[in-house]
Symmetry: C2
Subunit: 337 residues, 2 copies
Amino acid sequence: MKAVGLYEYLPIEAEDSFLDVTLETPKPSGHDILVQVQAISINPVDTKQRAPKDKVETTPRILGWDAVGIITEIGEEVELFQVGDAVYYAGDVTRQGSYAEFQLVDERLVGLKPKNLSIEEAAAMPLTLITAWEALFDRIRLIPDADAGKNILIINGAGGVGSIATQLAVWAGLEVITTASRDETVNWCKEQGATHIINHREALLPQLNALGFANVDYILCLHNTDAYWDTMQEIIAPEGHICSIVELENPVTMSLIKDKSVTVSYEFMFTRSKYDTIDKVRQHDILTKAAQLFENGFLKSTWNQTLQPMNAATIKEAHRIIESGKSIGKLVVKGFE
Amino acid sequence: MKAVGLYEYLPIEAEDSFLDVTLETPKPSGHDILVQVQAISINPVDTKQRAPKDKVETTPRILGWDAVGIITEIGEEVELFQVGDAVYYAGDVTRQGSYAEFQLVDERLVGLKPKNLSIEEAAAMPLTLITAWEALFDRIRLIPDADAGKNILIINGAGGVGSIATQLAVWAGLEVITTASRDETVNWCKEQGATHIINHREALLPQLNALGFANVDYILCLHNTDAYWDTMQEIIAPEGHICSIVELENPVTMSLIKDKSVTVSYEFMFTRSKYDTIDKVRQHDILTKAAQLFENGFLKSTWNQTLQPMNAATIKEAHRIIESGKSIGKLVVKGFE
């Protein structure tokens, strides 16, 4: 099979940062399914995994943790799917990824592709959708409808996770405030359903106060946790809940978090697959429930751009765009030549 | 009314660390009730509030955040109680405390005294009970029975909060592991219902492994969060939840918390009263529900010792005992002369 792989972890402009390679098509066993990949999307985790480091692979490492495709073969323990099913999934960061014609993935991490979405629209969703869903409903533990009327601040609302998190929070009945600064990101956030958009280049609390918020019940931090840590401690409500997906680079203090009985969660969507947790099938359930919400019109794809064909040159271009930090919504790569 | 107060914040051995004073009996209004105090208990928060600092009060400051007594007067908005009710409560750290013949307290922070407990047994409970209940059920959000079979490590199981937290976690169906090191604290932890007791003077993970635990689902940290921070990151299960009641003195890192999608909460039982949160009446509900559990035999008082009569000399002695850090269960002070 064709694939786009790497032996060395190099700056994206390096000649060999990605290579067109040919590999043996893998065979599924156990709970694995084999998927013929039709489209993938690029996430910041892809560029983080590719970040330059002193490590050399003896066989090509395949990145990519978002895909849509058709099941062509199944392992002997597979119960949730059959050959021919169209599926969408993010997969497992500890295994080979989706920049390939075929990919193995554990069925418990996979859902049937939403019927009303195009291949590209569906390929844009799994990783950000699962991240946002786990953050809101498994970490913060929002209860749709029961928590209606509460508010959430989403820091970096126009990114991939921020976009679908906004839609999910609106669906759950919350009032959503996002940060954005450019006209096009502000408009994008409004399209996702945000009620208020504040400028992350200015102090957040005065802007919240001007909108009538003394504080916020929940915060989802999707950008530079270090930079926002003190501000988040300041603006979170007593008994509030902060969830971040961005690792802290420096040690932090927690005095206000203590005084206000605040809860802080981290969300990392590969925890369940990496640690093989007992509730791993939850990602299948999330993708299945979300497919219904797409089909019923409660959610829409955050797809924004497609590059093609799938090869090393296109993947390099896609990584360049993601590394610029300016992208809005999701970037999809489609089709081997 | 008689009371034990302070003008200056002094080491406990200082002559004027506590003084016998006479104050005007306060009058209730709004949601306040006036309680004739029969017994109080001493908590570490009392000694922290008294800790030496450069501040002088112009009227005597009254400490004490645990009491049992009889309501003698009520404010015009009081709905939950009537004159003559026997009540128990912790109160509000921003107001005058319970080292007094009479005390004002907001009815929403008060419950009817459990009928089967003596005055001293009941006076021992409110602050530690509310702290443990909020930590387990409002921060960690354990669901009794639904979370049965999971396990929790309670660091410092023999203290006031650790003792009742052990009982509550057992009632909720969890397997409880506590830390302790002396024979008498180990025995005390067993009496509270702990299944396993490990020694906090040795590394925790090897001891957990020897008991068959690869990790723990929940941790309640009731002692020196700084010292246990790295260990807690190491031993917590993926998607686990850590709750601490002890403020961090130094900045901390969170890399394992991120990788494992762990949640960290702080519990401070005065958050609701201090910030006048919309759910403040939850403390009335907790004390009411707990009274049923005492009366039905699911919980027992952690009372361990009574000093009397209530005066400055006795309060000094009680603070000395709490500051030694060696006390087991709860210390009660009873009765003005």
